[in-house]
Amino acid sequence: MTSLLLVLLSSVLVTTVVLAHLPQWRPFVAPTDVFGGARVIAILCMAAVPAVSLLGWLLVRLVLGPWHLEYLRTPALVAVVLIVVPLVELALRRRGTLLTQQPGFALVMSTNTALLGIALITDLRAATFGAALLLAIGAAAALALLLLAFAALYERLQQADVPVAFREAPLALVTAGIMALAFMGFSRLIQE
């Protein structure tokens, strides 16, 4: 219970970063189907977050740790993200989950911050493999849900009579701010 809630809290930080990117997934376009795009990314996250976190955790424990290379943690985790995301993307495309983007770096670009963040947090917080697994799955679910919620909210706001100066990115940032505010409620949820 506590670790799951902790995960939710942790993912907030990274999610806000991801969410600020959301309007850019479909640049210059009246976003007809932001939600559809978000759903694909959410599925991708569900698959990639646990894989990245666990691989990263194992890498740190089994390779970097014994060789005293902890200072390489961040670049190593970036590399893990770069390995896992294209493979997950390939698997999704094989399954026929529609990804309209050209194959390549688009998905890595839009998800790497979140993945890296969660991998780092998993690495710092999880002492055992079981804890890492739990954290990773919890973070994946939380991230996916938040992505979907924000995409749905974003679509709803598209039709609102928002003052011109605040359309698109400013409003997305304000919304992300209020979300972060809401998630402050979870602060100190776990006293360690």
């Binding site: 997934w25 479909r26 640049p27 210059f28 376009v29 009246a30 976003p31 007809t32 189907d33 390779v63 970097l64 060789w67 290379l69 390489l72 670049p75 190593a76 590399a79 893990v80 770069l82 390995i83 896992v84 995301v85 294209p86 493979l87 993307e89 390939l90 495309r93 094989r94 399954r95 026929g96 529609l98 990804l99 309209t100 983007q101 050209q102 194959p103 390549g104 770096f105 688009a106």
Partner: protein
């Protein structure tokens, strides 16, 4: 130093292999994308995009061999929808491929002038013209997509475009 180098080189190589593997669209993904694009096209089958029909154009779009602004019958709405689907920059229809029709048109055969040469029947991409050799032809208005492909082959110029009946 060496372990660090080995680790990073190993990881980088793995990332490179993953990137290469993921750089091509698997066939299933490709087909679904073509279906999705095809669903946005007006199915006029006029070939003004320089491809042999709507689906060939969709295939070319999916392969990145065509631009989103090549479909005059679809108009700007189709161009915008394609841009949105493919994550490309929206652009208005390129006038080089033809002008955007203001209202739906269908072909109409002046039955008095028709000599029954069947050339238009062969040209029609959706089999919307009925008739037989030496007999008068007529266009089934409900099935005509307004592609105008029947107009050039007509030797007596008896086909004109008219506003579609409502």
């Amino acid at each position: 130093m060496l372990p660090a180098l080995l680790t990073m080189v190993g990881l980088a190589t793995a990332a490179g292999i993953a990137a290469v593997l993921a750089a091509r669209r698997p066939e299933r993904d490709h087909n679904r994308l073509v279906d999705e694009i095809d669903a946005l096209l007006p199915q006029t089958q006029c070939g003004r995009c320089t491809f042999a029909g709507c689906r060939p154009y969709a295939t070319a779009l999916a392969n990145g061999e065509a631009d989103i602004n090549q479909c005059p019958p679809g108009g700007h709405a189709t161009a915008a929808a394609l841009a949105s689907l493919l994550g490309r920059e929206p652009r208005p229809v390129d006038p080089r491929f033809g002008s955007v029709p203001t209202q739906p048109m269908v072909a109409w055969i002046d039955e008095g002038a028709c000599i029954g040469c069947v050339k238009c029947i062969q040209a029609c991409p959706v089999d919307a013209i009925v008739g037989a050799s030496k007999f008068m032809h007529t266009v089934i208005a409900a099935q005509c997509t307004g592609c105008e492909l029947c107009i050039p082959p007509c030797p007596v110029d008896c086909i004109v475009m008219r506003p579609a009946p409502i």
